[in-house]
Symmetry: C2
């Protein structure tokens, strides 16, 4: 498999190493398979990412709520397609103390069912619509497949699920477009490149009319689904009697959408920007944006000046709202400190030694390319902002360009097979028949991700489905997939 | 039972009414007993309260983490006193899909056991100590008693649990003092009055050496435990082998404390400041701090000026960071709007009508006493800050004074009985014998809350235990209790 990003070691191994060494997430030691612990540093990354999503949702009229974790059996089972999609992988609570419960309770796998039940109580009129709820919660899936830190877990601890209700299908379609826009902004802001695909029929969310998915590419050349948007139609509103007064005086069922992201976003953030040394976090979302490292010097007086300059710089930056750490540990060399903070992905390092004291300037070192620049003290705060922004732009551009090279148009299944094996996402002409797509999956040795949202007729003009030879109607994407 | 706060109706009824009408929390309609839904407005109150606690904890060196929800049976059972305290009220997950699990999994009732397990892996040396972790999570108790919105629930959705580890008992004692200080600041900031008591031996946390509790008084004259601080000693570090390198080169078990609060804080905030009309939220923590209500007027031009003035005021305040809503709904009278926002506890209302337009000023109305003041437009932003602060001071003082009158020193059990029946907290001389305290509980018709943290010898000099007649050593508090 081709190397999409050079991490100095196998990606699986690298990810385990980096989340442990950078103290992001303790995985594999908690005594339940597929469940991990967010450590203080990782918790802060998670917090900044959540904050970003909250701002995007709040500013588009979404309202945050919190539903109970448990869903009674009979509620989960109300929408038949949905329950069939989840029943094999639901954790069941059957006892309270030693008492068997009358109705068994599911740990929520997702919240379409309880929320639709509540909407049937809360929403009476089209005047209340559209209604856009969201929550950040843990969801549970009893995965039988091999689990992976943050990527495939049994407790998804950072599930953002949004659920919307509308009086018309058209409005639900507008909402799908809004959700796609929100997620696109979110991933772009974090520098996570993606393709958006309409998932094939056989791979949509249980109960949905259709599912739109965001996929990114992990360093091992496999795509990771990092966000989904579902148009649920009226499956759940009919099952739960979400019955609404319409403008024309009639009563009718509402229309719903739902869309979700999970800690896979953080797995992507880490994997897409990281390098062989460790994390490289975006300046705007790093728990520590700047670390100040004093460089020891000979005479006591100079050392005092260095220390006092470090303190001054830390104070000034803190006052400007920069998240800064002054690493004045005495039992570590500067070199060890450099490595310690580089591993943790701190974007900028300020070095202060005797030379800096003499020159009235400090040295700023960027995490991405280790480029160094000397900055005069009077200009430091502004310079840090500017360098931070340049750094963000640089790591985002790097990620975007690398990703762009990894999406290939192909016209034959053999070409597709080679590219997918090498860790590419391929786009292949497709006639639209399910049988051709499934046959192509076998020949290509990858999974069908779905079709681009918009494929201009021209783009597939004159092209043919490499499986049946018929005229192509659109493109189908394939890749190795998590 | 005496009325501590006049809410115009029975407290139980009032609380159900207010959380429903102010759209704080949907309780009793979710199809599982004892589990409720945080609605958008309530969620925001909760968010501000959580934010306050986070700031207090972060600024005292606590680190936020997130542990899995599920605890394996064998981990929960490791500390024998602890598991005996919880085993009757734990929810058990027994199946993943249709597959019975090999080890049954508890929904966390609290996290001393899994965290101690992890600390045995994470902490090796006294140099890493003290270590102060906390998390905001849901915890679960299969309550068999009657449940009450936010007060006694089966899913406590806003449990803040802190867990600390120390190399000496002395340091754990210092930590208990710090926790008491943090909680005291927290409740004072919210204007929730409290007494701090060392709980009687028979009422401490399962596994702790002792438990310190914060109790407030609800409007019906019953005390509500709103925070607890436990010195856990070495119960859990011994059970889980949290074995630490000490400064003298020896190995020994660490010392722990833990302390928690829950959404009872929000129940208290609502109940202690609320009145017959609805909520009265503190200005600093209200989701909406100011509502602007335009007062309709005759001619079209004037109405345009009113609207434009309202928009200008809203913009100006927003720019200053005030959380403001301009209520320009056309299908509601100003009076209905006043009531709507008063019920939701919005601290300040700005009325803008033709008179205001003419005079270049607006009318600011306080939620607590409905006092009105005219403020010139140029001074509005500053005035709002000042009035908001005065309002906060007023509702806090009111709560504090009312509470102060409700804590009574008594010298006989008959006196205590009358006072407790009337909704007071009483402090009664006590010889220190458990048998006398339990006998007193029966005679007084209340529960023993525990002893004040510091009772000067002088305070009980010459006083006698009213049960046995022996010399009093301290005071014991009694009350009706939730």
């Amino acid at each position: 498999m081709g190397i999409y990003r050079d991490l100095g070691r196998d990606f699986d191994e690298w990810l385990d190493w980096v989340v442990r060494e950078a103290e992001v997430y303790d995985y594999g030691r908690y005594p339940i398979k597929g469940m991990g612990v967010w450590l203080p540093y990782g918790f802060k990354i998670r917090k900044h990412v959540i904050e970003l999503m909250r701002n995007l949702l709040d500013s588009t009229g979404h309202e945050e709520i919190l539903l109970p974790l448990l869903i009674p059996d009979n509620i989960l089972a109300k929408e038949s397609e949905h329950v069939r999609g989840f029943e094999d992988q639901v954790y069941w609570v059957t006892h309270g103390g030693l008492t068997p419960l009358e109705v068994k309770l599911a740990l929520r796998p997702t919240s379409e069912t309880p929320l639709s039940y509540l909407e049937s109580l809360w929403i009476k009129s089209y005047r209340q619509l559209p209604k856009k709820y969201y929550q950040f919660v843990s969801v549970f899936r009893y995965e039988t497949a091999a689990t992976r830190a943050m990527i495939r877990v049994r407790e998804v601890t950072t599930f953002k699920e949004a659920h919307t209700l509308h009086s018309t299908y058209e409005d639900s379609e507008r909402q799908v477009a809004e959700a796609i826009e929100v997620y696109s902004k979110f991933f772009r802001e974090l520098g996570i490149p993606f393709v958006i695909s309409k998932r094939p029929e056989w791979d949509k969310f249980p109960g949905a009319i259709y599912t739109i998915a965001f996929d990114t590419l992990m360093p091992d050349g496999r795509t990771l689904q990092i966000g989904t948007v579902h148009n649920l139609g009226r499956s759940f509103t009919i099952a739960f009697n979400v019955w609404i007064h319409m403008p024309d005086g009639s009563m009718d069922y509402g229309w719903q959408t739902s869309y979700g992201i999970s800690e896979r976003v953080i797995a992507s953030l880490i994997s897409i920007h990281g390098d062989a040394v460790g994390l490289r976090l975006p300046f705007r979302y790093a728990p520590v944006q700047v670390v100040i490292v004093p460089i020891p010097a000979g005479p006591e007086e100079v050392w005092k000046e260095v220390t006092s300059l470090c303190n001054g710089v830390a104070e000034e930056l803190r006052a400007r709202g920069v998240r800064v750490v002054l690493d004045d540990r005495e039992d570590m060399t500067p070199g060890d400190k450099f490595y310690y903070w580089e591993r943790r992905g701190v974007p900028l390092r300020i070095e202060v030694g005797p030379r800096e004291v003499r020159s009235g300037s400090v040295t700023v070192v960027r995490r991405d390319d280790r480029s160094r620049v000397s900055v005069r003290l009077g200009e430091l705060a502004k310079a840090i902002e500017a360098i931070g922004e340049e750094y963000d732009k640089a790591i985002k551009t790097e990620a975007l360009e690398a990703f762009g090279k990894r999406v290939l148009r192909v016209s034959s299944t053999s070409e597709a097979e080679r590219a997918v094996a090498d860790g590419y996402i391929v786009e292949m002409p497709w006639c639209g028949r399910i049988s051709c797509a499934t046959e192509a999956e076998i020949r290509v040795g990858g999974k069908a991700l779905g079709t681009p949202l918009k494929t201009a007729e021209r783009e597939v003009e004159g092209l043919h489905c490499p499986v049946c030879g018929d005229r192509a109607r659109t493109l189908m994407r394939f890749s190795k997939r998590y």
